[in-house]
């Protein structure tokens, strides 16, 4: 016991390795993304495990199973948590044996449009969605509810108290988003001034250049 700090360090090394091994096992065993807090509480037995330790283990695992790496599975941040999943590059083989649950191709373009509006504006009412799209959107909203990509998140305060919709963790998982901040910025999709002028001209709202 000449150097207690070193002692503790050496003791802590196998402990970190054990924690990392267990984090790996938990991610493997869980069918859905796990939050750092869930991982920490599952690993806290007689002695609590710090969130920072879990994060350090995840950082190492992320290097071993990187997104888009050479392995058949990868570690990804998804829907506010962490998950191991098959590598998208193995899609053909995986779909030969298993059903890909979230086949995006089954979503109509209308449904994806509605989903984009809800994702960016949430909470959003059917009325708002219809106004933006210029067409009644009840049927795509219903489809998205059935697939649990959106959910009711409340009611408008105003008269009529319309139902307001927001996206679900399932939406984040389906689109590979760590969280909603992960969505590409909406400003990036705005029509440029040049395109606006072009549009105005085409609609005959600007005189021809003199």
């Amino acid at each position: 016991m000449e150097n207690p700090a070193l002692d503790r360090f050496e003791e802590s090394q196998p402990r970190f390795a054990t924690i990392k091994k267990n984090v790996e096992a938990l991610l493997f065993a869980s069918g859905s993304p796990l939050t750092v807090q869930t991982l920490a509480s599952a690993l806290s037995g007689s002695e609590p495990v710090a969130v920072a330790t879990i994060e350090a283990a995840l950082a190492e695992l992320e290097l071993e199973f990187p997104r888009g790496g050479d392995r058949g599975f990868e570690l990804v941040r998804l829907a506010g948590g962490w998950a191991l999943r098959t590598s998208p590059s193995c899609q053909v083989a995986v779909s030969a044996l298993f059903e890909l649950p979230d086949d995006v191709s089954r979503l109509s373009p209308a449904a994806v449009e509605v989903l984009a509006i809800i994702a960016y504006l949430q909470p959003a009412s059917r009325r708002q969605i219809a106004e933006i799209r210029g067409v009644n959107s009840d049927s795509p909203v219903q489809k998205l509810l059935e697939r649990e990509l959106i959910t009711e998140v409340g009611r408008a305060q105003s008269a009529g108290s319309a139902v307001l919709y927001g996206t679900t963790p399932r939406f984040e998982a389906m689109y590979g988003l760590a969280d909603l901040d992960d969505l590409p910025g909406l400003e990036g999709f705005a029509v440029t001034e040049e395109q606006k002028d072009d549009l105005r001209r085409r609609l005959g709202l600007l005189g021809a250049p003199e």
Partner: protein, 246 residues
């Protein structure tokens, strides 16, 4: 005769259609034969023959009437074109553009979402190990955690919204084109001809507009003839000659 070959069923709504027409197809509004678009749309609806489709048409009709308005200003510079509605032509035009720009933003965002999904859709997670299922929190943990007033308020809010008629749908007026068509047919069956102003003059502007589209539809089918003595004047509607003799 038709110059415009539109596959209308691929469009997600009127703004989508307009964007494609004006931006992607690079068509100048002056050169877009609006009647062809309308007729193509009507043909399409006929083919679909579904009820919902008519509901969705309301917005399309509104958009088209805005376009007609904008276009007629171009064709008839200086003509006084006061709309019956509360919007001035400039306001209607600006509103149309603002909505078009807004829609276009989400349209691009949805294309990027689709791409994101394609990058991710090939991956699956393992089924949860064994048959283990997470258990519910123990009773002690949740006892008293709910706020019963939240339940009460939830139901009171529903009761309130039942009491006051829901006004949310009123802003979106729905007009049934089929109904207007059958009205036109009915009047013609009784009288053989009628004046548009006499029959529809007292209606809301939107109902008038839809009635006008009903005329276009029947015109396209060859059921009626219409005549208008002067621009913006009354329209006389008659049963088509060959129909009458047949």
């Amino acid at each position: 005769m038709r110059t415009l070959d539109l596959e209308l069923d691929v469009y997600q709504g009127p703004f989508d259609l307009l964007l494609s027409l004006v931006l992607k197809e690079e068509i100048d509004l002056l050169e877009v034969p609006l009647l062809d678009i309308i007729l193509a749309y009507l043909d399409q609806m006929e083919a679909e023959g579904t009820h919902d489709y008519w509901d969705d048409m309301t917005e399309f009709l509104l958009l088209m009437s805005l376009l007609v308005e904008v276009k007629s200003r171009l064709l008839l510079p200086g003509a006084s074109l006061e709309l019956d509605g509360e919007l001035t032509p400039e306001e209607a035009r600006d509103q149309l553009l603002t909505r078009l720009f807004e829609y276009s933003k989400f349209k691009s965002a949805s294309e990027s979402l689709r791409h994101l999904a394609e990058l991710n859709c090939g991956a699956i997670m393992r089924p949860p190990a064994g048959d283990s299922r997470r258990r519910l929190p123990p009773l002690e943990e949740i006892a008293g955690s709910g706020d019963v007033m939240e339940l009460r308020d939830g139901l009171v809010r529903l009761l309130d919204s039942k009491r006051q008629p829901d006004a949310a749908h009123l802003a979106q007026i729905k007009v049934d084109l089929r109904r207007q068509i059958s009205i036109v047919r009915g009047v013609l069956a009784r009288r053989g001809h009628f004046s548009f102003d006499t029959v529809f003059g007292g209606e809301e502007p939107l109902v008038q507009a839809v009635s006008l589209f009903a005329l276009l539809n029947l015109l396209a089918k060859g059921e009626i003839r219409v005549s208008q003595a002067r621009a913006f004047g009354d329209i006389t509607v008659r049963v088509a000659q060959d129909r009458k003799t047949a």
